[in-house]
């Protein structure tokens, strides 16, 4: 797809990576949060149920994504089609990343901190995960979830700040930690993004699809179990204590005491039921 090379002179233009629409899309500046949706997933129309009503020009947009489009589309249509194709890819992406294989793909990106790191000082550069505040497109831009402070932040860059949050959805980071509970970050101490990425595929490896299709995505068995408790992890969280000439600020200190009392109640509650 020549137009891509012309239109976008960013990275990776020398590999076969740029040969497909998806590869082009992923390598474009600002799209760093997206992962590759496997073609196999896209080609299974069942996975796309309902999207035809969400995307104008659905058929052509889909052909575009799957590189089945005619080269000779008039330029005036091309721009619009690109927008529709991106939108469709985003919506497919939202569904894909909550599948087992999609989660695994995003996990690799998480471990590379592709989504940035928590701006909260006491989170010690904890890598973030993208999250939507709505699953409906055109409502809210994407935010970043920190598994350590369990809060959400705005992306630093306006390129990322303008991505539709629905392309990631409201569930994704929470589902990730549900499926990989041993990756839930500790509340204190240095960052350690857990497991080695299994069979980390090199992008552009054409063999990977067939290889990985056979290697059925089993859920990491070692992560399921009762061996650890998260009931009292909150007690380990560090807090910032505002001080004036060394003395705590009254109203803030009072609020923080109240918050910690709420925390202690929660810990007691959870220990009671043995979480």
């Amino acid at each position: 797809m020549l137009r891509r090379a012309v239109e976008d002179l960013s990275s990776g233009s020398d590999s076969d990576y740029t040969n497909s629409w998806i590869a082009w899309f992923l390598s474009s500046k600002g799209n760093e949060y997206f992962c590759e949706v496997e073609e196999e997933y896209i080609l299974d129309r069942f996975n796309l149920t309902g999207l035809n009503t969400e995307v104008a020009n659905y058929t052509q947009a889909l052909d575009s994504i799957t590189d089945n489009i005619d080269e000779d589309i008039p330029d005036e249509l091309r721009g619009a089609l690109d927008v529709q194709a991106r939108h469709l890819y985003g919506l497919i992406h939202a569904r894909w990343i909550v599948t087992a294989r999609g989660l695994a793909k995003m996990l690799e990106k998480y471990k590379r901190a592709d989504f940035g790191r928590c701006p909260r000082v006491l989170c010690q550069s904890q890598p973030l995960l993208p999250v939507g505040l709505s699953d409906i497109p055109y409502e809210k831009s994407v935010k970043l979830y920190c598994g350590r402070c369990e809060d959400i932040y705005s992306p630093k860059s306006s390129r990322h700040g303008s991505i539709d949050g629905a392309y990631f959805g409201t569930s994704f980071p929470h589902l990730l930690f549900l499926v990989y509970p041993n990756l839930i970050p500790p509340k204190s101490g240095p960052v350690d993004v857990g497991l080695p990425v299994r069979g980390a595929p090199t992008e552009g490896d054409n063999q990977r699809r067939t290889r990985r299709a056979r290697e059925e995505p089993e859920l990491p068995a070692e992560t399921i179990g009762e061996e650890f408790s998260t009931a009292s992890v909150a007690l380990k969280a560090e807090r910032y204590r505002p001080r004036i000439f060394g003395f705590q600020v009254h109203e803030i200190a009072k609020l923080q005491r109240w918050q910690e009392a709420v925390r202690d109640r929660q810990v007691a509650r959870l220990e009671e039921i043995g979480v």
């Binding site: 997933y41 996975n47 505040l133 809210k140 935010k143 402070c149 809060d151 549900l178 803030i252 979480v275």
Partner: protein, 435 residues
């Protein structure tokens, strides 16, 4: 005393390398101002005087650029205000600093644009003096911004958004102020304090990574909000009523200092923060259902961002951080039916719900209660059945959950056999009332 009209030629500002990506940060006006400063790099002596004179009244006539003006105009130095020269000239304000700054005299001369003595032979490499001048200025700055004039200079920058806004979504672009984690130089870089979440953040741009936090100090941020109570968010928060349209939706990017004027907000504590807080707390959801705290991956940290609805609730905790009523369990059980535990309900949407439909209603209700007015509410924002696809490569939520062991079901899915919990919030004793 004669002024230099040119800045020292080779002072290397620390932390100038700027990643393009970060300059465009989504943190509001502050970034744009910084970009402006960026654009003028390399031509300070010509064009900066008007930039500078805009911020403080203390600058000298436009044709000359003082060392201080020049220093404050460097990329990465946007957070500094200009310290009044008479403050620096008053020895009392410098007490103890000369022991910390090498080449004190030369550094003073540089900062104050005093032509050095004839005896310049003993002055070492000028770059050493420059480092000393920066250290001197930074330490004086730490003290200056605690004075009335310094606070005044900083509030002007604050209101102009120079320091940027809190990156936390539910702080709704509350403006932040610079702060240090130490008052001693050389230990940590400058951070940003948000008065709404009372937390500190790394500045969004790497050009601040070379700025010493001690040049702002540990006290300034808090003295600032003690001095300007109208800028300090109150420690309690009541969600506004459901229908009210919001002026402070998280993504709206409106400046925080110009919060809504329509409803009058009053903190009964006359010494307390006078601004309405941005009180929403993030609620993780999976497929539209709140992740229950009983799940292993359930929320553990919401307390850190939570505020009570009423200020009196703050008094229910003693100075050691214990609930006063925890001493009396029986009393507590009864109180459970009252509304003393109201704020905690934010955690738990399903008090006494019966079936899916009701739970959805609750969900909506809860949401609107929690939200400080979201702009629009959607009937279809209820739990979505996602991922229709079950190609062999994909896994549906139900499958994931089944493979996980449904008995420890961490997520609240529309499963028939949902556990109902009457009231799990008040005391550990009440928690056991599962029916």
């Amino acid at each position: 005393m004669s002024r230099r009209s040119q800045p020292p030629a080779n002072i290397e500002p620390i932390g100038v390398e700027v990643e393009e990506e970060e300059v465009t940060g989504g943190v509001g006006e502050g970034d744009e101002i910084m970009e402006d400063a960026q654009a003028q790099e390399g031509e300070y002596s010509i064009s900066l005087s008007d930039v500078v004179s805009g911020t403080t009244g203390s600058s000298t006539p436009t044709s000359t650029l003082t060392w201080i003006s020049w220093f404050c105009s460097l990329p990465g130095h946007e957070y500094f205000c200009e310290v009044a020269e008479d403050f620096i000239e008053d020895d009392f304000n410098l007490t103890g600093l000369n022991a910390m700054v090498p080449f004190w005299k030369e550094a003073m001369e540089m900062v104050l644009d005093v032509e050095p003595d004839e005896d310049t032979s003993k002055i070492p490499d000028v770059s050493i003096v420059e480092a000393s001048a920066e250290l001197l200025y930074g330490l004086v700055h730490q003290r200056f911004i605690l004075t009335r004039a310094g606070l005044q200079a900083m509030i002007e920058k604050y209101e102009a958004g120079v320091f940027g806004a809190c990156p936390r979504v539910y702080c709704s672009m509350t403006h932040v102020v610079p702060c240090g984690r130490s008052d001693l130089p050389g230990l940590d870089t400058v951070k940003l304090f948000c008065p709404n979440c009372n937390d500190i953040y790394t500045p969004p741009s790497s050009r601040f990574q070379g700025v010493d936090g001690a040049f702002f100090g540990t006290t300034f941020a808090h003295l600032f909000f003690q001095s300007y109570r109208e800028l300090a968010p109150a420690p309690f928060w009541k969600p506004s009523s459901a229908g009210s349209s919001s002026s402070s939706a998280p993504s709206s990017g409106s400046g925080s200092s110009s919060s809504r004027s329509s409803e009058k907000f009053v903190n009964p504590n006359p010494h307390g923060g006078k601004r309405r807080a941005a009180g929403r707390v993030y609620q993780p959801k999976i497929y539209g259902f709140k992740v229950n705290e009983k799940a292993k991956c359930g929320p553990r940290m919401q307390w850190m961002r939570l505020r009570p609805e009423d200020p009196e609730e703050l008094d229910m905790v003693d100075w050691r951080g214990r609930w006063y009523d925890d001493a009396d369990e029986d009393f507590d059980e009864e109180e459970a039916e009252g509304d003393e535990d109201r704020p905690m309900e934010d955690f738990d949407p399903d008090v006494g719900e019966d079936d899916e439909e009701e739970s959805e209603e609750e969900e909506e209700e809860e949401d609107s209660r929690v939200s400080q007015g979201r702009s629009t509410r959607h009937a279809h924002s209820a739990p979505q059945p996602p991922v229709p696809g079950a190609s062999k490569a994909s896994l549906r939520p139900a499958e994931i959950l089944q493979s996980i062991d449904i008995s420890s079901l961490p997520v609240k899915l529309p499963v028939a056999s949902r556990v109902k919990v009457m009231r799990q919030w008040v005391t550990p004793a009440a928690t056991t009332q599962v029916c």
